[in-house]
Amino acid sequence: METNGEIEQKTTLSPLLRRLLRLQFWLVEHLRPSERQSTLIWAALIGALGALTSEAFRKTSDFVLHLATGSSSGIISGFANLTWWQRLIVPTVGGLLAGSTLWFGSRLVAGGKQKTTTDYMEAIVVGSGIISARASIVKSLSALLSISTGTSIGREGPLVQISSLVASLIGRVRNIPIPQRRHLVACGAAAGIASAYKAPIAASFFVAEIILGTVVVESLGPLIIASVVAAFVTQMLGNSEPLYKSSGFNLHTRWEIIPLSCVGILLGFSAPLYLGFLRSAERLFSKIVLPVPLKLALGGAIVGGLAILNPDVCGNGHGLLRSIFHQYWFWDEVLAIIVLKLLATATAFGSGVVGGVFTPTLVVGAGLGVLYGEGILYLAPQFQSDPAMYGVVGMGAFLAATTGAPLMAILMAFELTLDYSIAPFLMVNCVVAYYCSGIFEKRFMYGESLERKGAAFFNQQLAAVNIRDLVRRDPITLPKNATFAQIAETFVQHRFQHVYIVDKDQKLLGAISLHDVKTFLDRPELESVVIAADIMDEDFPRVSPMHGMNDALHKFSEAHSERLPVVDDMVSKRLIGSISKTDIILHLAGDQSAAATSRQFR
């Protein structure tokens, strides 16, 4: 009975227990974050940390600037207060210190065991989402020294680098899977840009459009969260105003729409020249054989020389942009500052200073826009044009034309000024500039770098693939005296593009392409007079397991074929199987099981 009593007691309690358990399951099921939701939480954290590290970098940079120039009111005014020889010395010494940091730092970093990258774009696109912490710190320190001593290079580069590093470290510490880790690094980059420009929407689209190459919600969502949190934290730290807040633009006559809509054409065609100029500077400096510290010192000295003429060339150009938008510049002043800024940026970029060219690009675009606006004002004074309005439009158009990312450029120019009245003109001109630039320029600012890194990664992966691992062992073959009827039947029965012709010892004699014979497959008159030997291609490309994968891909392009025959060696030419392009791609994509399955079933 006692036993029965226990049972009775248990059955009495069980409905409550069952409800509690059900509630617990429901809570776990509905409130426990999935992988996608946890990415959003990490993105928010990365956004906050990105903004804090960016602010720390900014403060440190200001402190170094104060040490170098004695000024706390910005880089341009700091240099303006220096004597001519000080303007020359400060960037030169800064370059020397930045170069020495890189030089010594590279020796320090070389001792690291793990093979990682320092480039956030590489880590996101082709890497494993791991950024080298030591190398990033060295690069950022070098950038800090260059930027704070007046070099004309963007501060946003190191800001993005540091916040990406923070994201990468979180991914490593939490042992987050590689695809998600890459995404977190992308969030870090977006947070860095958002805190640098206070432009969260543009920052999200910068990473999505330029680095990820897609604007689908799955990838854009976490970027938006990271950017918005970063921008919000930056505002909380006291930087609430947009960088170049517009005081409002008005069209005095509707006819002004015409010249305003043509800014994109001018800037679009100028962009390839600008990119070419930067590349030429890089090539020129690469020919100068000097140790890194001296090369950066030389770059600093040239910038210092230009600063003697006009201190406005110093720094990334934030102050200059503000000045261009909010003060009246005569056309010859604008022209002079564009030329000097171009020279200073190309020198810094070419000499290998760590940093970005994003803000200098905005300066050049804005300057060209203002110059165009002043031309319109001169030619049609009745329009009463405001050159600054052309400057804002030019800035966006030039950004679109150089980065190949018109959507990001529209949003960036809009967020930097927060002037809705100019948005339609921005949109038109960014798109027009992008198309005009695309006529002459196929490699945009960040695309070229990504292309180079992607190619290097691809070659590295390719070298690790062994042809023998990817061979399918049962290729479709026919003897050389197979009749045309047999050939036709083989092509009908199998969906391969080529049939291999072998002798009795399986020696590969050639291949027949479906493309060559498809128009004759329904000709019964050929059945008795044509055999395989009559129509086979004896020189059809083939590979052996001795070949590298690079050779195999080269032969694929020669053969215009999805599949290549594999022979044991190039002397005996005994056919052992075939290799397909799809399997190589699946293998390179890391999906080795898919490649194996594909080999098994095809």
Partner: protein, 197 residues
């Protein structure tokens, strides 16, 4: 698209049609371009005659009333006709490849036509010799009265298929053998080829 519609569209484009015979039409474009030949098929419609094949035939060497005791002799005599052909760069190789191909699987068409041929590096472009035989020559079990000897460069597999397909199709027509073996020279042979009437 039927010929009638095609002709109407073609006339609008300025193509001039010329009646070559009851069964053959020659179409010449108004602007510079090659003429296209059509002949009547068994359904009363018209089909394009392979221009390439006709051009190969035009360049062929014709031998009337070839006499030989064996297929080997017949092929040797025809090869001799091509010995000094400007497009034959290595006659020995060409001849060896033809005999090699004959040994693998002699290309014969039921009804008495032989196609000795080879894809070879011994010729630079497609070369051809045509022979008619008053007295049939034995090629294995088949008594042959018409021989097409063809040398094809290794890269011209498509041309070869087009030519062989065209020749075989024309020969399958009614009384084709009688008409073709009655030809006196190459122009006459071609005329009988394109005009089945």
């Amino acid at each position: 698209m039927g010929l009638r519609t095609g002709v109407a569209a073609a006339i609008r484009r300025g193509i001039v049609f010329e009646k070559f015979s009851n069964a053959v039409i020659k179409a010449t474009p108004a602007f510079p371009g090659r003429s296209i030949w059509y002949n009547k098929d068994s359904w009363g419609g018209y089909r394009v005659i392979s221009r390439k094949a006709i051009e190969h035939l035009k360049g062929a060497i014709f031998l009337k009333d070839l006499e030989a005791q064996s297929d080997h002799e017949a092929i040797s005599k025809m090869l001799d006709l091509l010995r000094s052909h400007p497009e034959v760069c290595n006659f020995e190789m060409f001849a060896a490849d033809v005999f090699d191909r004959q040994q693998t699987d002699p290309p014969l068409f039921p009804g008495g036509v032989a196609f000795p041929h080879a894809r070879t590096d011994g010729v630079m472009t497609l070369v051809m010799a045509v022979a008619t035989c008053r007295k049939p020559i034995q090629f294995g079990d088949i008594s042959v009265r018409l021989i097409f000897l063809v040398g094809v460069p290794k890269r011209a597999g498509g041309d070869y298929l087009e030519l062989i397909s065209f020749l075989a199709r024309q020969i399958r027509r009614d009384r084709a053998m009688e008409r073709l073996t009655g030809a006196e020279d190459m122009p006459g042979f071609i005329a009988r080829f394109v005009d089945p009437a």
